[in-house]
Structure formats: structure tokens, C-alpha cells
């Protein structure tokens, strides 16, 4: 049995996950941390450049409201989601996402994501809410902004290849997280004042119809192991919108078709499962 070194990391804000959500949170957090003299730590189980469900890139942005062009209103988006989910949704959360998504897309573009434009300079739509992009490096670009935000300001630390296994509890309060390195014999204890969980959903909850080498043929990545759900349950968080299930047989539309730049037209994830601690 190998000797495992215990590494204790103390921080103010702990961001668990390194995908799109965590990277976005890191950019935002770094700004306020710098202003207020706080520290941020981000923990990713993979390599940030290519971790999460956008690791492979995408050919479309699946949610853009278009407020500044008067294309849609927040209410339009809420109505669309409520209708799509047959009324089972938290409209406040949908509206909260919708009101910030345009600014997020505009930041992606500034960071370097190529978004298709027509001859008048307007975004090219694939559907009412979708924008077409050359998104091979979508995640690379977003991760780069997050790394720059955390590391260039000196407010943040990034831990890659560390797998979080559960919350660190102080009575009923979540006081951080524990995990281990998948590269070295190290056990990590992260102590934090606030913890943000963005470790993805759960794939392979149901056995796929494909078998053998086709097992990984899932719409969302097979490395989405349910860490977020487990963590938030153990931490006693309020979990909401968990009834949203996404079961698809459309995964043959992935991979090789990226070459043609026209796939991935999922209708977006209206309300991602949310939890607060």
C-alpha cells in the first residue's frame, strides 16, 4: 500500500469542476476576489483545456437570447423553456440564466471564439436560440480566460487531475471538499468559506443500447460520473430541477461530422440541475 501524502489547501472560494460552468465562475470570481482580497481555488479532475462536456468542441451555441438586437425578450425564453418542459421548470432560474447568457456569449467572442456572421455583421442563427460557431477550440478558449483570470491576478490556484469524492462538513455547513490526485499518491483536503459545485451531470445512469466499444457512444460524456449530485446530496444542499432527464440516441451525429461543422443541434439544456449550499 502506497503512502498517501495529505495536502491541505485553504481558500475563500472553492470551485469544484473545470468545465464551462466552472471556468465561467472562475472568471467572474477572480474579478471580485482581486477587489476584496480573497483567494480562489479551482479543482479539475482532468486537464482544463479539454475537460468537461465541451472537451471536443461544438459547432453551435445553443442559447442566445439576442436582447440588444430586440430579437427576443427574457419572457420569450422562459415561455419556450416552460413549453419545452411541459410546465415542469423553475422559471426564476431560467430567467436568471437567460438574462446573463448574451453577455457570456459576447465575452466568448472577445476571448477568441469564432462566431459566424452574415454580410451585415449579424450572428448567423441555426435556430431561434442557436448561433453557429467554429467551435473546435471552444473549451480551450474559455479555459484560457479562466486560467488568465485566476493566475495572472494571483488570486487563484488551479489543481488538475484531482478527483473530488465528497464534501468536507463542519456540522451542517459545507466547509470544503476532499479528493485525491489521479496522478500522484496525494490526498487533498480543501477548506473553504464557500464552495461552488460544477462537476457535471451523470451519464450511464441507464445502460446504453450499444455495447462493447460503442458503450461510450453517449450524448454527454462518459466521464460525467454524477459527482455533483452525490456531493450536493451529501452536503445537504437544496436540489432542484432534477426531473430533467436527457436521453438521446442522436450521438451518431457527433465526432466525424464536426469536420463538416454542422452538427450538435441539441435544443440546449433549459435548466441545468441547480443546487445551493
Amino acid at each position: 500500500m502506497a503512502e498517501f501524502e495529505t495536502v491541505v489547501v485553504e481558500t475563500d472560494l472553492l470551485i469544484l469542476g473545470g468545465g464551462m460552468a466552472a471556468c465561467g465562475a472562475a472568471v467572474e470570481a477572480a474579478h471580485w476576489a482581486l477587489q476584496n482580497g480573497l483567494k480562489v481555488a479551482l479543482v479539475d479532475k482532468a486537464a482544463m483545456d479539454r475537460s468537461g462536456a465541451v472537451a471536443m468542441g461544438l459547432s453551435a451555441i445553443n442559447q442566445y437570447v439576442g436582447l440588444k438586437d430586440g430579437a427576443n425578450t427574457i419572457q420569450d425564453y422562459v415561455d419556450y423553456v416552460r413549453n419545452d418542459l411541459m410546465g415542469i421548470t423553475r422559471e426564476d432560474l431560467v430567467a436568471n440564466i437567460a438574462r446573463h447568457v448574451d453577455s457570456t456569449v459576447h465575452l466568448f467572442e472577445k476571448w477568441g471564439l469564432p462566431i459566424w456572421k452574415d454580410e451585415k455583421g449579424a450572428y448567423v442563427h441555426e435556430g431561434r436560440w442557436q448561433l453557429m460557431i467554429n467551435g473546435e477550440s471552444y473549451k480551450v478558449v474559455v479555459a484560457e480566460a479562466a486560467k488568465n483570470a485566476l493566475l495572472q491576478t494571483g488570486v487563484g490556484q488551479i489543481f488538475e487531475r484531482v478527483f473530488i469524492v465528497g464534501p468536507l462538513m463542519d456540522g451542517e455547513r459545507c466547509a470544503g471538499a476532499v479528493g485525491f490526485s489521479v496522478r500522484e499518491n496525494k490526498f487533498y483536503v480543501f477548506k473553504s468559506k464557500a464552495t461552488l459545485v460544477a462537476m457535471g451531470g451523470a451519464v450511464h445512469v441507464f445502460k446504453p443500447r450499444s455495447s462493447g466499444e460503442g458503450m461510450g457512444r453517449a450524448w454527454y460524456p462518459p466521464w460525467n460520473s454524477g459527482s455533483s449530485a452525490y456531493f450536493t446530496l451529501k452536503a445537504g444542499a437544496e436540489m432542484t430541477c432534477q426531473e430533467v432527464r436527457f436521453i438521446r440516441c442522436a450521438s451518431r451525429m457527433r465526432t466525424d461530422l464536426w469536420a463538416r461543422g454542422s452538427c450538435c443541434s441539441s435544443r440546449g439544456r433549459p435548466t441545468p440541475p441547480a443546487a445551493t449550499t
Partner: protein, 146 residues
């Protein structure tokens, strides 16, 4: 279907402490057989064929075994990624070769500026994110009713 390593091309990234594919695989599937100095995919059933190992391999030793329904035997789709573009070579089984080139970013590598040049406003007690409302292109962010 999964990625696989062509052992004739793989040199185990011998100059490095770990292989490039091992560094990048989001599911931690790529490992190095240190005796043979060849990398391999350790669990083909958990591979998402995200192509990251294919794109990052310095010797182009990694390929993906594609689905026969749209990449039949004898055909292939191979990416070559540079710092600002990706070039896909699509080979059809009748011998036709087509190439598709796409931009992958509009800024120099490493130069993503977190605030995107947008002015910062508000404070922690405001619903505005730090680049808003400038980054929305509106005067204010939509306010939720209580």
C-alpha cells in the same frame, strides 16, 4: 468508437514526463506502457472519441476507429490542428480525398483577456456580472420580480 494508438508511430513521448495523450484525455484513459514506451487506451468502452488525444499527438500515432455507418471500411476522417486552424482530411473509400479547413480562434493563443475589454460596473450586492451591462449591449440587466 474508441481511439487507438498505432504502435509503429508512437514513441511514448519519450522526452517528456508523461505522454501528450495522457496529459489531455478528459477521461484519464490513455496510459503509457513504460516497458514498450507505447501509449494505449486502457478502456475502450469509456471512450467518447472526443479526438483530443488524436489532435495533440506529436507523432500522429492516435486514430479513432469510426462508426461503419458513416465512415465505412477504407474511409477515414483525420484532423490536423494548428494554433489557429483545424484541417480535416476526409478520405472516401473510392479514393476521393477532401480537405476542410476551419478557424479555431480569432485571438492569439494564450491571449484571452478575461474582461474582454468591457468596462466593469456594479458591486457584489448587484445582480450585474462584472462586465455587465456593457457586455450585454443594454443599459441594464433584466431584473427579476420578487
Amino acid at each position: 468508437m474508441p481511439s487507438y494508438v498505432n504502435p509503429e508511430k508512437c514513441d511514448g513521448c519519450k522526452a517528456l514526463d508523461k505522454t501528450a495523450c495522457q496529459h489531455i484525455c478528459p477521461n484519464d484513459l490513455m496510459v503509457l506502457d513504460k516497458d514498450k514506451m507505447k501509449a494505449y487506451n486502457r478502456d475502450v468502452t469509456m471512450c467518447w472519441e472526443c479526438y483530443n488525444c488524436v489532435k495533440i499527438c506529436p507523432t500522429q500515432a492516435v486514430e479513432v476507429r469510426s462508426y461503419a455507418d458513416f465512415v465505412p471500411l477504407g474511409a477515414s476522417a483525420t484532423p490536423m490542428r494548428s494554433t489557429d486552424t483545424i484541417l480535416w482530411t476526409v478520405k472516401f473509400r473510392n479514393g476521393t480525398i477532401k480537405r476542410f479547413k476551419f478557424p479555431i480562434r480569432t485571438t492569439p493563443e494564450g491571449k484571452a483577456v478575461p474582461d474582454g475589454g468591457f468596462e466593469s460596473n456594479g458591486g457584489l450586492d448587484s445582480p450585474l456580472l462584472f462586465t455587465e451591462p456593457a457586455s450585454i449591449g443594454m443599459d441594464d440587466v433584466f431584473r427579476l420580480k420578487n
